[in-house]
Symmetry: C2
């Protein structure tokens, strides 16, 4: 389907589910972006879920979002159970304004939901020549170090920086060996997942995506990954007023209440301390790219480069939609 038509279709679906035209556009743009960068687990495959949560009154289609200004640099947003995209869009825009005025901005969000890719919001800040750090928590997927039960989410850590070129440095990684969205897509398509990234519900290693969904994803780097996940849970949940300690609900499986995810957005001017920041980071990247490479590696890529290439490439083409999702979308609009 042509991008423009797909965008119109998504907007139609969300307005039909009582979102405002403006909020529907925000959602459509974020979802399209996820498809274009190849993050299918954060794209069209989630629309049915969002609509179901709206129908069950777990996502508020007409939220009264409150922005409480705490200082010239800091704001606190109560998203009133809005769809995550809308809360995150407001949050990053608020953080950008703070940073532009005072050098640094920090915005905490509570009562929000799944907002897609952190990197999508990071890009907005980077385009304004800001550096940004973004944290969000997520439903239980990874066991804390020493525990036999999942509790931490895939809790992504996102860092974005200008590069002095049109391709931003966007490091956006979950602390899980594998993204939960990817397991979900694999389960949907009856594909297997790599070995060593997940355990089944009995604690045994598995490559069966469906069994992994019912089990435990392994954290990266043992206790270090567990510590990073804990840090993200504190910064996005404990600090903000969002759910934490494993209480964020799985949007696909748990309809017992709103997710109440928390997010934290930190932004600051890239040239706060060095006027020639862009020149410095260009030099940094150039130096690293010049290193001798491992056999088979053509180019040392910086985080965000591959994603940008996928975006560029996919933008030229129509978006192909798996049949099962096409059916979902047709049902949602009918």
């Amino acid at each position: 389907m042509k991008q423009q038509n797909l965008k119109k279709l998504i907007i139609k679906i969300f307005t039909k589910h009582s979102l405002s035209r403006k909020d529907s556009e925000i959602c459509a743009e974020a979802l399209l972006n996820a498809e274009l960068v190849g993050a299918y687990g954060h794209g069209l495959s989630r629309i049915k879920m969002y609509c179901e949560r709206i129908s069950r009154k777990l996502i508020n289609p007409k939220p009264k979002i409150k922005v409480k200004k705490i200082s010239r640099s800091i704001s606190h947003i109560d998203a009133n159970n809005s769809i995550g995209f809308v809360a995150a869009d407001l949050a990053i825009k608020t953080a950008i304004k703070h940073a532009q005025k005072t050098g640094i901005g920090m915005v905490a969000v509570k009562n929000s939901g799944h907002y897609g890719l952190s990197g999508y919001y990071a890009e907005q800040a980077v385009k304004k020549n800001l550096i940004t750090i973004i944290y969000t928590n997520a439903p239980p997927a990874v066991a804390p170090h020493g525990a036999l039960k999942t509790l931490f989410g895939t809790n992504p850590i996102c860092f974005g920086s200008p590069t002095g070129t049109k391709i931003p440095f966007i490091f956006d990684t979950s602390i899980s060996m594998i993204n939960r969205g990817k397991i979900r897509v694999a389960a949907r398509n009856n594909q297997s997942i790599p070995a060593g990234v997940a355990l089944d519900k009995f604690g045994k290693p598995t490559t069966d995506a469906k069994k992994a969904l019912a089990g435990v994803q392994l954290p990266i780097a043992g206790f270090r990954g567990s510590g990073l996940a804990w840090m993200v849970d504190i910064l996005s949940g404990v600090l903000t007023g969002g759910n934490h300690a494993g209480r964020v609900k799985d949007p696909f499986d748990d309809f017992s209440g709103p997710q109440n995810i928390g997010h934290l957005f930190i932004t600051f001017k890239a040239n706060l301390f060095q006027k020639n920041y862009n020149q410095r980071i260009k030099d940094n990247i150039k130096t690293i790219k010049k290193l001798p490479k491992i056999k088979g590696v053509k180019e040392i890529m910086y985080p965000g480069q591959n994603k940008y290439a996928r975006y560029k490439n996919n933008s030229k083409k129509e978006i192909s939609i798996p049949d099962i999702i096409k059916k979902d979308l047709e049902t949602l609009i009918s």
Copy 2:
């Protein structure tokens, strides 16, 4: 040796090497703390190196440190090649003041050196009921993903938070599979290092600490650890005006110039958004500790707990000093 006597000895060594009494005390306290928490690679084993760098005029014993105030929340410190402890001590104290006044503080440091443990500075902020995030870069030790040569340092990521108890949450991890200081201590004591954490200079796995020092430490979690290391290099080096892209000099081996390490300290009030932050984090930790445990695990520990226990335990005892270091100290004072 009794702590007080050891402290006096360290102060005597540094004042003999032209540091002011006050700066010598700052160094002595940081070094003693490293011994007490069991981080021997950051303790007494480094004193000889610091003194050698002072003698070679690579560390400035009488620095004119400049603090440039950029906004009410942000400062930039030019450490004038001071010993790292002194620059970091001033930086965290400045960041704390900013956070106490405006809610958030950010302090960037350039022209600094190795400052010991990030967690030591994080504790200072946490004691004031602040959350803190600290980054510093370090000499080349880890190869970027895809590269055959070391460039990133062990680039620690440090996060500290109050817990509502006397034991702070201090997550302080290098992005390397093993701390370079630990390899150094092992090399000194002719001990081997674990398998899978380092390669020799030919790119072959090794458990020989001396060979590992000449080779490559492996990053945690492949491209994810490499991305984290790159992020830290940008935040502490590119941003601040410090060295970056592999140009931070190894303090033990490279006497061709000052290290010019950069650091970044971010602090903010823990109760910015939720007045009952301490209650919330107590609940968070309690919930996680209650999870079912892996066989053999007695208690799920949060980051900082083990270190605190070691500190408590070691504080009751005299500090034992390896003969080789005792000799160094005697030489330095004679």
